[in-house]
């Protein structure tokens, strides 16, 4: 079965590629990995706007952003675990890491971010309520809350005050950590000197800003969907504020991407002939239509129009929702173009291979959609356990 697939690829090759390159090794799962990680970093940075920079307008989404970051962070390593062919040896990355490897160090960046930043910040934020919930809830839910209290039954103002200050401290060190988390993912690709499509010093920075773009868009999307499901009106000042930061992030991200593109075209190094064939051919739709038009230019126009000329609340809501979906698709295309695009051409720079995405199997569409859907289920559970809304917080 697998061999038939490879024979089919062999027949579709254009030009010359090294014979070992027929099998494209990093599949859609490796597209999901930076996508999901980016959503985490972006959602967390949005939460930090409120906590660190004290932008009160985004307060309604502060907790939601943290829970979103956690739900996606839990799922971030899953595509990798699915992808590696010896998953039971995967823990060796932590036990015997090879420290010159960007991938090995990512494990520690991930653990640091999960254990030292996100879990602590969420726990401090919810601590008071967890103690209250543990008293009024019975059964499994009550039991979960009891565990989450870590044995503390009473809390006084002094502790609360300390929690607040400590929470802020964690949020402050969380920002460089989130930057590290996703900048690092960019480095995993950007440091591969064998691949001229990836090898770029600006790659971690582009990853970082595209992460912020996708993370903010995700929180806007989830916030609006949750409000719709509950039959409530979302806070327009909050949406406006998020849309404002989304617009700024898209502009920076888009500028950096175009800088990278223009630099490559102007320098026109050895890779340039292949580069032209790639962007005019196999990557044209995913690059120019999805990444640039749908993911950047149209959102900038829509959001820019609203910021400059204003509009009615219902038009705003519609536009923000539409833009958030467009951006989420656009950033997915960005990740696709990096990961898959970087493997479509031969390192001989003389030919192209193809990527055939299957439906079933470990690296097929169904598995990937499952992995992309899973964080939303986890998020629902987290929202059930730790309600993120002001009103429900009052016990």
């Amino acid at each position: 079965m697998e061999m038939e697939h490879l024979y089919e690829v062999l027949r579709s090759i254009e030009g010359f590629i090294y014979p070992n390159e027929i099998e494209l090794r990093w599949s859609i799962l490796i597209v999901l990995y930076p996508y999901v990680t980016g959503l985490v970093a972006g959602a967390f940075i949005l939460a930090s706007l409120e906590k660190v920079f004290e932008i009160r307008d985004v307060r309604p989404t502060y907790r939601l952003s943290l829970l979103t970051a956690l739900a996606f962070l839990i799922c971030a390593p899953l595509p990798l675990v699915f992808h590696i062919t010896h998953p039971f040896r995967g823990f060796e990355i932590f036990l015997t890491p090879h420290l010159s490897s960007a991938m090995a160090v990512f494990g520690f960046v991930y653990i640091w971010y999960l254990m030292a930043i996100l879990l602590i910040e969420i726990w401090l934020e919810y601590r008071k309520e967890i103690i209250e919930f543990s008293k009024i809830n019975k059964g499994i839910k009550g039991f979960i809350y009891k565990i989450l209290t870590l044995g503390v039954k009473e809390i006084n103002e002094e502790i609360e005050d300390f929690d607040k200050r400590f929470g802020k401290f964690i949020a402050i060190i969380g920002i460089p950590s989130a930057i590290l988390l996703h900048g690092y993912v960019g480095f995993i690709f950007g440091s591969v000197k064998a691949n001229p499509w990836w090898s770029s010093v600006i790659m971690p920075v582009i990853f970082l800003f595209s992460a912020m773009v996708s993370g903010i868009a995700l929180v806007i999307f989830i916030y609006m969907v949750l409000n719709y499901l509950k039959g409530k009106e979302p806070s327009i000042p909050c949406l406006d504020a998020m849309a404002k930061y989304l617009l700024y992030s898209i502009i920076i991200d888009f500028s950096l991407e175009m800088l990278d593109l223009v630099q490559r075209i102007y320098e026109a190094e050895e890779f340039f002939d292949m580069f032209q064939i790639l962007i005019k051919g196999k990557l044209f739709i995913s690059l120019f239509i999805f990444q640039i038009l749908i993911g950047a230019i149209l959102p900038i126009l829509f959001l820019g129009y609203i910021r400059i000329f204003g509009s009615s609340d219902s038009a705003k809501k519609f536009t923000y929702f539409l833009v958030s979906v467009m951006v989420l698709i656009g950033i997915f295309a960005t990740r696709w173009n990096v990961v898959i695009g970087g493997q479509l051409f031969s390192k001989s720079l003389r030919g192209l291979t193809i990527y055939k995405l299957g439906l079933i199997g470990r690296e097929g569409i169904y598995a990937s959609m499952g992995l992309l859907f899973l964080p939303f289920l986890i998020l629902l559970f987290l929202i059930w356990l730790l309600p993120p809304y002001e009103k429900e917080r009052r016990v």
């Binding site: 014979p19 590696i84 010896h86 090879h98 490897s101 591969v192 064998a194």
Partner: protein, 243 residues
């Protein structure tokens, strides 16, 4: 010396009084590090593209017979009068190359055997997250199949396309210079079977080795030198079109 070796050898330091010989050995080996490494010279002008090396390698090293997996392969370059370059490697040169009747006049044509370059600064070794790909003291880059997690980062990092993913072990595989043979003083099988002596093998710093003599006598090139991988596979008479 790798980190793992270092830790292994550390215990000899602790038990020094009891293991003097090991300690002496360690000192000798430490000072010899960077020397005594294996390398290969490929004389492009001699290669006739018969495919003998590709067939022998697949047989010797249990490389799957499908045309997607190669430890070594041969490329044919045809450069036409008008400057157009045509490159092919049908089945990696396993069945040799067919005579072609091109539509226009050929300026030059030649065969280029390829294999793992056993880089001194190997990107595959650098990126392996668990150290399953490592360089031996004699300069050969090997893969520990029982340790590899199968992430494929090394395949991405290799600039030469020298690694393939073995469908049975589910780990990357590549040329080892026939490590099981060379440690017994035998030649790699591709060198042994080449009817043209287009592949020359030996230690790169041993004055008695044929590779050493080549390195000192001829202008040689390595592939993609701008990437600073310091390959230990050297090419004689290599055209600028070869990548």
């Amino acid at each position: 010396m790798t980190r793992r070796d270092f830790i292994n050898k550390l215990k000899f330091f602790i038990l020094t009084p009891f293991f003097k010989n090991e300690l002496l050995n360690l000192i000798v080996q430490t000072f010899r590090y960077g020397k005594n490494k294996f390398g290969m010279v490929i004389d492009i002008s001699k290669c006739i593209g018969c495919g003998e090396c590709v067939r022998a390698c697949k047989e010797e090293n249990n490389v799957p017979k499908y045309p997607f997996y190669f430890r070594t392969w041969i490329e044919r370059y045809i450069i036409f009068e008008d400057g157009e370059v045509y490159v092919e490697s049908p089945d990696g040169g396993f069945n040799g190359f067919k005579k072609i009747s091109p539509p226009k006049k050929i300026a030059k044509s030649f065969f280029v055997p390829k294999l793992c370059n056993q880089c001194e600064e190997a990107p595959c070794v650098q990126v392996c997250p668990v150290g399953a790909t490592y360089e031996t003291d004699d300069g050969v880059v090997l893969v520990d199949k029982k340790y590899c997690i199968g992430c494929g980062y090394c395949i991405q990092a290799c600039p030469y396309g020298a690694r393939y993913f073995h469908p049975e072990t589910k780990t990357p595989d590549k040329c080892t210079f026939c490590y099981h043979r060379i440690k017994k003083g035998l030649l790699p099988v591709c060198v042994l079977v080449c009817p043209q002596n287009a592949r020359i093998f030996g230690k790169i710093d041993d004055p008695d080795s044929p590779v050493y003599k080549f390195l000192k006598s001829y202008p040689l090139q390595v592939l993609k030198s701008h990437l600073r991988t310091h390959p230990k596979v050297y090419y004689k008479d290599m055209d600028m079109e070869v990548r």
